[in-house]
């Protein structure tokens, strides 16, 4: 798998009408071209859960860029490794998140990515219907784009 960049897929997720929740999509829009030049596949989408199966099938590595709200400082970047199989321990009864999707793929023999990394961006305001970011996130956006790019480039090198 080393060096085979086409085995890697980068997702940028979010809802374009939920203000700060669109941060992943915005960063994706700005990085799409640069990342494709590095030879990786990029998906910028509002889809989630089960719908991601089609894209993840057969990949070695998936990187997901998405908004998170954990209570820390807006603009902070959290990196989570979702690859580990503890996913089985958090199987929600009636909804599918990434860990559930991975587990489902595995049991159906659909080979999920071996490595799944979430780059979570702490947002300021998750509850406002708006097609723009809050001022604080708007201000942070240019720097976030670069920091996310650096993170992804690092992950690609390590892949």
């Amino acid at each position: 798998m080393a060096g085979k960049k086409q085995d890697l897929i980068v997702f940028f997720l979010g809802n374009p009408l939920m203000g700060d929740d669109s941060i992943g999509l915005r960063i994706g829009g700005m990085l799409e071209e640069r990342l494709r030049r590095l030879g990786v596949e990029v998906v910028v989408t509002s889809e989630s859960g089960l719908s991601l199966i089609d894209h993840m099938h057969g990949r070695d590595t998936a990187i997901i860029v998405d908004a998170v709200s954990t209570g820390s400082k807006p603009g902070r970047i959290h990196i989570y490794d979702l690859s580990d199989s503890r996913a089985g321990g958090i199987m929600a009864p009636h909804y599918m998140g990434i860990p559930e999707v991975v587990k489902l793929m595995r049991s159906l023999g659909l080979s999920p990515p071996k490595k799944i990394i979430l780059i979570g961006i702490e947002i300021a305001e998750p509850y406002v219907v708006s097609d723009s970011l809050t001022p604080i996130m708007k201000e942070k956006l240019p720097r976030l784009v670069e920091r996310v790019y650096v993170e992804i480039a690092r992950l690609i090198r390590e892949n």
Partner: protein
């Protein structure tokens, strides 16, 4: 277990909660569902061009983009007083049925299925899609995934991006169908019908052959005698895309049948201080609180309601399944909430048959798919049956088509009062003497899950999924227990 950081889909901190209040003896005396404030969508539409509504409203949430797209598109037809050509209407309806089928399948196998297929009291860790697959075989899992992929692929081919379709335009659709696409749809319809009949078979074998389940479905804890509402065609048969709104009373007699333009005459909205959900009720019957019966304006929508308001199914295999349904439950209307699951499967069969019917209609390949609007806009109202029930979009614009006022009347808010009734009744019937084990709590949860509720748009906001928790208080208001119920389409 709550780990917001390891589930990127659960991006948001807020959560819905079911609150159960216990008396001295540990019996539930009251239970209700609370959803945090998420609003502002209608305001967001004001000042925008009406033509953008079919695109913007699909972004309300990722759960039913096609339902909003179609309701908005039909509202635009009405706004510009333009009648789409026959091919356009039929293609819209065909695509719409694909979406309904796929969405229902998701609920049957993943969201609601675990309760029945794995068992209502099975351990929480097994009550999920993997538990379902262990019971019905991995091959079924692959079938579900393949079916979804096939239908979504076709919707995308015809309507553009699955999550944000760019398809409906005032007076028609964006492009006609190619012969090749029509051929693919016909083949897909056959596979979809086979899959839907297979699903009914699974349900019969696992659920209907088990007397305990039948007892559960028909038990008083899950029964409410309410009014029902849904779209029907000219012969009072089921239709998801178009028709008249029909309401039947708790005895099954027609209470009203009207064109969507008259919806405000019939449906009113009740507001409670403890929730942001607006509760629909029948204006002429009146709001009498969270009670059922003929004197209470509480109504229900979605699969069970749609079967209850229909005199028959318009397609043969769905008709057979429909007759079985009423024969076995013995009475019409059926008032059992858990029968929603069964009704949903019957609707899958109908959707598959309807897709086939439309794909074989000679009009479907007609290249004339749009009438250009020429009237000056003022008011436009559109209706469809969304997976979760009757969905109405109502726009008022200035002479240039800029939205001045928008009202979205969504499915879950029609069901909201009955959902509140269901949670309360299930909790009071099941939680006794302080016995609050996991299985019992799930059975309370089942009371609302049957509706496949989606409070994202009932509170008029996104993103469509939300973690939900159960809080239990003693009579002094002290929190005695808090349980995470996982995520629901809330």
């Amino acid at each position: 277990m709550r780990k917001i950081e390891i589930n990127p889909i659960t991006r948001l901190e807020g959560h819905g909660k079911i609150v159960v209040v216990l008396d001295d003896e540990g019996n539930a005396t009251k239970a209700y569902l609370q959803i945090p404030e998420l609003r502002g969508f209608e305001k967001f539409l004001v000042g925008r061009a009406a033509e953008d509504a079919p695109i913007i409203t699909t972004r309300i949430c990722g759960v039913c983009p096609m339902a909003h797209h179609m309701a908005a598109t039909k509202a635009l037809d009405d706004l510009y007083k333009v009648e789409p050509p026959p091919a356009a209407k039929k293609i819209r309806e065909m695509v719409y049925n694909m979406f309904m089928l796929e969405d229902h399948a998701l609920h049957v196998y993943i969201l609601g299925g675990p309760d029945f297929i794995v068992g209502p009291k099975a351990p929480r860790m097994e009550r999920n899609i993997l538990g379902v697959l262990r019971k019905v075989g991995m091959e079924t899992g692959l079938k579900v995934i393949r079916m979804r992929k096939m239908l979504r692929g076709l919707v995308q081919e015809i309507a553009g991006k699955i999550i944000h379709p760019v398809f409906g335009l005032p007076g028609g659709i964006s492009k006609p169908l190619s012969q090749e696409t029509v051929k693919k749809v016909r083949e897909a319809a056959d596979k979809a019908l086979e899959f839907s009949l297979f699903t009914l078979d699974v349900f019969k074998k696992i659920v209907l052959s088990n007397p305990d389940y039948i007892k559960l479905i028909t038990s008083d804890a899950y029964t409410h005698r309410t009014y029902y509402m849904g779209l029907v065609d000219a012969k009072n048969r089921l239709n998801f895309y178009d028709g008249y709104i029909r309401i039947v009373d708790p005895e099954g007699r027609e209470h009203a049948k009207f064109d969507v333009h008259e919806y405000q005459k019939h449906i009113a909205e009740h507001v409670e201080p403890w929730t942001y959900v607006r509760f629909s009720y029948l204006r002429d019957v009146g709001w009498k609180g969270f009670v059922d019966g003929k004197d209470s304006g509480v109504l229900a929508v979605a699969p069970l309601a749609r079967l209850n308001v229909s005199d028959s199914m318009p397609t043969p295999r769905a008709q057979e399944a429909y007759e079985d349904f009423y024969d076995m439950l013995g009475v019409k209307p059926v008032h059992h909430t858990l029968a929603y699951h069964w009704a949903r499967i019957i609707e899958m069969i109908y959707a598959a048959e309807r897709i086939k019917e439309l794909a074989e209609d000679p009009d479907i390949e007609d290249q004339h798919v749009r009438e250009i609007p020429s009237e000056k806009p003022s008011i436009g109202i559109g209706v469809v049956e969304a997976p979760r029930g009757t969905l109405i979009h109502h726009y008022e614009t200035d002479g240039n088509g800029i939205i001045r006022k928008a009202n979205l009347l969504v499915a879950t808010q029609h069901n909201a009062a009955r959902i509140a009734l269901s949670i309360d009744k299930a909790a009071r019937s099941l939680i006794k003497g302080g016995n609050i084990d996991d299985g019992l709590l799930n059975m309370v949860e089942m009371a609302f899950r049957a509706y496949d509720p989606c409070h994202a748009c009932a509170t008029h906001a996104a993103p469509g999924t939300m973690p939900i928790a159960l809080y239990m208080y003693d009579h002094r208001g002290r929190l005695v227990r808090k349980v995470w119920l996982g995520k629901s389409r809330i």
